[in-house]
């Protein structure tokens, strides 16, 4: 209890003011304890990747996997980037990096463009059967890729784009369509319909409303879509293996070939440097985008 000099008669009647609380109750210590232990568990692999990639091979063989590097060396990073062997060639992971860039950039642009227009059409310009096709599309989000791999191989071969960059971009556009269309449809449907009606009364048509009215007010959802697709396409492995062709293997495929190559001595430091290099792009996207990333993954779950 607090007693101040200016105590009024009322202050004698018992407790007054804020209830005194202990700063560290067992409950809060437990709470933060559990959270910190969990955080350590989640951060450990990242830490291991970094320290391993900065050690020389002798140090790795002698020491503890969790020990910080004694002699910091950046050679593993150079090797991983420039001269690590993928089984056939020894040109490092950089080939894969540039392939991934060549797949991701057009893949993201094309899939976002397609899906945003489709989502807009589904939200504002329903036509006979549009809901039916949308349901089919959503069903596509759940079909295991394995079911559609071979039909797509045939389709792309008929179109003459199997084992090409174009082919793999098309495949990414197809598989990104369900979730992105849902994302954009729900967003456009959440905009006040009055805006759409007002634009129509003003004489704007399909494309004008989309480009001049909706697009400028939908930048955040486009950013969410870009985040979703950049990480999704960059992290893909299966579609890259099947559809890109040997010369265009994306970074994940190259990385797997470097690390799991059968011949030669395992260079763990180079492997971890290559792994980190592959993880770099999604990690940067993740840490920079923050809440928008969360919004993107929640968009798929919270269907409206």
């Amino acid at each position: 209890m607090t007693t101040s000099l200016t105590a009024t008669p009322a202050a004698v009647d018992g407790p007054r003011g804020r209830k005194p609380r202990r700063r560290f109750t067992p409950a809060t210590i437990m709470l933060y304890g559990v959270l910190i232990v969990a955080a350590v568990y989640y951060l450990l692999p990242l830490y291991v990747m970094v320290v391993t990639s900065l050690k020389g091979m002798p140090e790795i063989r002698m020491g503890n996997i969790f020990a910080p590097p004694v002699d910091i060396t950046f050679q593993p990073w150079v090797t991983a980037w420039d001269s690590a062997c993928t089984g056939l060639t020894c040109e490092g992971i950089k080939v894969g990096f540039w392939n991934s860039v060549k797949i991701t950039v057009p893949g993201v642009l094309v899939s976002i463009a397609m899906a945003s227009v489709s989502g807009y059409a589904l939200a504002n310009w329903r036509f006979r059967g549009s809901e039916f096709f949308f349901t089919c599309l959503l069903f596509g989000a759940f079909i295991p890729y394995q079911v559609l791999l071979y039909p797509l191989v045939i389709l792309l071969r008929e179109l003459g784009i199997f084992s090409t960059l174009t082919g793999v971009v098309v495949v990414h556009t197809i598989f990104g369509m369900p979730i992105l269309t849902l994302l954009f449809r729900n967003y456009f449907a959440s905009l006040p319909l009055e805006i759409f009606k007002a634009a129509r009364v003003d004489g704007a048509g399909f494309w004008q409303i989309f480009l001049q009215v909706y697009l400028p007010m939908s930048i955040p959802i486009f950013v969410v879509g870009v985040i979703l697709q950049v990480t999704g396409i960059w992290n893909d492995f299966l579609l890259g293996v099947v559809f890109a062709g040997n010369q265009n293997y994306p970074m994940t495929v190259q990385l797997n070939n470097v690390v799991n190559a059968v011949q030669g001595v395992k260079e763990y430091n180079v492997n971890m440097a290559a792994t980190l290099l592959t993880a770099m792009v999604p990690l940067i996207v993740y840490f920079v985008s923050g809440r928008l990333f969360v919004r993107g993954i929640a968009a798929g779950a919270v269907k409206g």
Binding site: L31, V48, T52, N64, P144, Q146, Y150, F206, A279
Partner: protein
């Protein structure tokens, strides 16, 4: 005569229909058409190339007689149930902890979720290295004085699946946590106040009020996570390549190998049809439930 301004229905909003063509094509030709193609050809004797020589359910009989497929299905069941139980328990627990108006909530959430931004290949390779029997975690434990400690998770057919579970949980629990947290935040604050006025302890409020209210979130998360588990492939390729032996084979890898490496297309298609059926078994009750709730 109709009014001159009245256009034929088909041409109304023509631009919208043209713009929707890619969506319609993807939905009908690829998703529906492709699925039908696969299901139909799973009843043929296709080997290197697709054939139309129907042989009934022979591919399926052979599939379920193949030890490798049996192992794959069992593995997926074990991996799936274990990681569902753990990712839901841990994910909900972390979400509930983050919901206690704590400091640094953003930092903790960012840490728990970052693995989800990574490729399964990256996850697989990191954990492969951490669990390396000679130089990884087992070695550290031995150095700590536990002589003869042999935690060679990856080298042992009995434990290799749990290595996959550990890696999969590391990557996926944050996702479950985020969805659970969104669900918790969706609970009306007044419910918590009412429970406090009623004098109900927090854990009881979670158990008897909040979790029942989050049924929808739980079911949706379950469907998404479960249909993701059925597709499990990259992680296995990166971490164990299905080994040792066939100890960590999974259905998705079986399909891929038979389609593209063993030139036994019919088998691959039959196996992938079974995968599709599994997803449908998860999906259909959920879709019906959602449909009913929306109507009601």
């Amino acid at each position: 005569m109709a009014l001159p301004t009245r256009r034929i229905p088909f041409l109304r909003n023509l631009n919208a229909k043209i713009a929707a063509i890619p969506m319609v094509l993807v939905a009908s030709v690829v998703f529906v058409g492709g699925t039908l193609w696969t299901v139909v050809h799973s009843f043929t004797d296709s080997r290197l190339l697709p054939s139309t020589n129907f042989i009934g359910v022979e591919q399926y009989e052979r599939l379920f007689d193949t030890p490798r497929w049996q192992v794959s299905v069992t593995n997926l069941a074990i991996y799936g149930s274990t990681s569902l139980v753990f990712s839901f328990t841990i994910g909900f627990l972390l979400a509930a902890l983050l919901d206690q108006k704590i400091r640094f909530e953003n930092t903790f959430r960012t840490i728990f979720l970052y693995p989800f931004a990574l490729s399964f290949i990256v996850t697989g390779l990191v954990w492969q290295w951490i669990l390396d029997p000679a130089l990884g975690l087992p070695n550290v434990v031995r150095d700590l004085g536990f002589e003869g400690f042999d935690l060679a998770l990856l080298g042992n057919p009995d434990t290799v699946l749990f290595a996959l579970v550990v890696a999969g949980l590391w990557q996926g629990t944050g996702f479950v946590m985020v969805l659970m947290l969104a669900g918790l935040r969706g609970i009306d604050d007044e419910i918590w106040k009412a429970a406090r006025v009623d004098g109900i302890p927090a854990w009881k409020t979670y158990l008897f009020v909040v979790i029942p209210m989050m049924r929808g979130v739980f079911i949706t998360t379950l469907v998404i996570v479960a249909s993701g588990i059925v597709k499990l492939y990259d992680l296995v390729v990166a971490m164990t390549q299905g080994g040792p032996g066939f100890a960590s084979e999974v259905p998705a890898k079986y399909v891929f190998d038979f389609m593209f490496q063993r030139a036994n297309l019919g088998q691959g298609l039959a196996a992938s049809t079974v995968m599709l059926l599994t997803v449908l078994i998860i999906l259909v009750p959920w879709a019906l439930l959602m449909f009913r709730e929306r109507k009601g």
